[in-house]
Point group: C2
Chain length 174, copies 2
Amino acid sequence: MAAQRIEDTQGTDDGLREYEEKASAFVERFASDLADAGMQRMGARVFACLLSAEDGTLTSAELAERLRISPAAVSGAIRYLAQVRMVSRRRTPGSRRERYVVHEDTWYSSMINREHFLTRLAATLNSGVTALGKDTEAGRRLRETEEFMLFLQDELEGILARWEQRRAARAASS
Amino acid sequence: MAAQRIEDTQGTDDGLREYEEKASAFVERFASDLADAGMQRMGARVFACLLSAEDGTLTSAELAERLRISPAAVSGAIRYLAQVRMVSRRRTPGSRRERYVVHEDTWYSSMINREHFLTRLAATLNSGVTALGKDTEAGRRLRETEEFMLFLQDELEGILARWEQRRAARAASS
DNA sequence: CTATAGATTCACAAATTTGTGAAGTTAAGA
DNA sequence: TCTTAACTTCACAAATTTGTGAATCTATAG
């Protein structure tokens, strides 16, 4: 872990500690950004920590140590992250330890689809059109909002596809 | 208010009450969706209420009555909504009352840009690349994530432009 | 089959967030 | 200028959320 950095600093303890401090500072800042966007705090911290891990993978114990939190907190955060499909559990055969891993290629779409948020919102708005009457001004406004949500949902899928293409193209050329 | 609906139900008190109940049920459901997505609860309720109002406008007193909340709560929610540019205050000259109004044509973009969330995230990720070292695997992962955020930000602007076009086209043809 | 590492669940305490009443401001109207 | 309607701010109480230690569960190793 952090081999590169250790080398840069002639492998001194100070160098390693400095590296860890910088890494930790970044993790907290990133987590804080995510939390501001509505993500629960521990979930954000664990996710940030995983994303910053050299191979995108950490065990429960490693997470607990790096973030200074209890195993229970790790467990709760992982449950949440697994639910929203940003992380998955990986059981190494022949070990009791479980490793948690960032879905590097799909967490973007999980982030965007957020439990079908837009689709659900559109359905709710549709019920509003019925409730308020489709010929009222309010009904018209809700209908338009509904259409926007569906439009957005659709476009987002296009964006993800384009990103995958771009990514694939870059991978092929390098 | 709700003229259409009153007509539908022969203007009976029962009809009006029924309409109000349905409207309120929708407002709460919509607010709940928004709250699930990370929006603060009162902000969501006030916003949903405004969006459902016949002309997209209500006074502080009307909001307090419809949502059964104190003037202080209205004030707090409006402060928040104004800050994220989803609602603005409108002072009718020659009146002490203030009206709050949904930015019908711009709240989508406010919703999407959410205080430059993506740009900020990209900046944070960039600092992570520096902290972890750009030649490490983690650094590479963060850089890619940063690129995705910038890509997404860019694409979202395109989407909004397309939506405006679509909207304009429809308005012209009807 | 048993012992135990390791993850999860649960009840509770701490911390945070939220909404209220009351006091304080601001500006319209007399 | 004075009065007062209407919005805002503030301190606090209520409610919610969060993280912990302890107990519990699961499945690997022996």
